[in-house]
Symmetry: C2
C-alpha cells in the first residue's frame, strides 16, 4: 500500500518522461502502488517521492535517474524485500 | 486548482490507455490540474473523477470515452468557462 508522487516542471516539458516513468513504476509495482500522482510544477523541479519520502531529486542528484535506479529507490522505500529481477543491483555479498 | 483521478482495472490491462488519457488531460489542463492520480483497481473498473465528482464511469456509460468528450466532462467539472478549441462541442446557441 504505497503512494508514489512524481513532481515535474511543465515549462521544461517533462510531462512525457514523467508519464513514462509513472507507467514503468505502475507496471513493476502493480501489487504495491495504490496511487501514483503526477504533480505539475515549475522551476526545473523533478522529484519522486514514495510514501512521503523523497527518493529522487534532480536538483540534488544533478540528473534524471536511469529507470532501473529509480525502481530500486522506490523499491527500497516501499517494498524492500521485492526482487527486481535482472534489472536489480546485485547484493553486496560476502 | 483541481485533482483528477483515473481508476483503472489492472487485470484488464488498462494502464496504457489510462496513462495516455492522463497525459492528454495534463496537457490540455496544464493551468488547472494540480494533481492527476492513477489508481490501480480491479473488477473491470474504469472511472474518472475531477475534484471528487465522477465524470466518467465505464460501468455506467457502457464504454470508454472519446478523448474529446472526456476533456469536455473534466472541463465542465473543473473549468466550465475554458474553451477547448476545435475539439469543443459547439454551444447550443440560438
Amino acid at each position: 500500500m504505497a503512494k508514489v508522487e512524481i513532481k515535474y516542471c511543465t515549462q521544461c516539458r517533462w510531462l512525457l518522461r514523467s508519464a513514462w516513468m509513472a507507467q514503468e513504476l505502475l507496471s513493476t509495482f502493480e501489487q504495491e502502488i495504490t496511487e501514483l500522482s503526477l504533480l505539475p510544477a515549475s522551476g526545473g523541479i523533478f522529484e519522486v517521492s514514495a510514501n512521503g519520502q523523497l527518493v529522487w531529486s534532480r536538483k540534488q542528484q544533478g540528473r534524471f535517474p536511469e529507470i532501473t535506479e529509480l525502481k530500486q529507490a522506490v523499491r527500497d522505500a516501499i517494498a524492500p524485500d521485492k526482487p527486481l529481477g535482472h534489472a536489480d543491483k546485485k547484493p553486496s555479498a560476502v
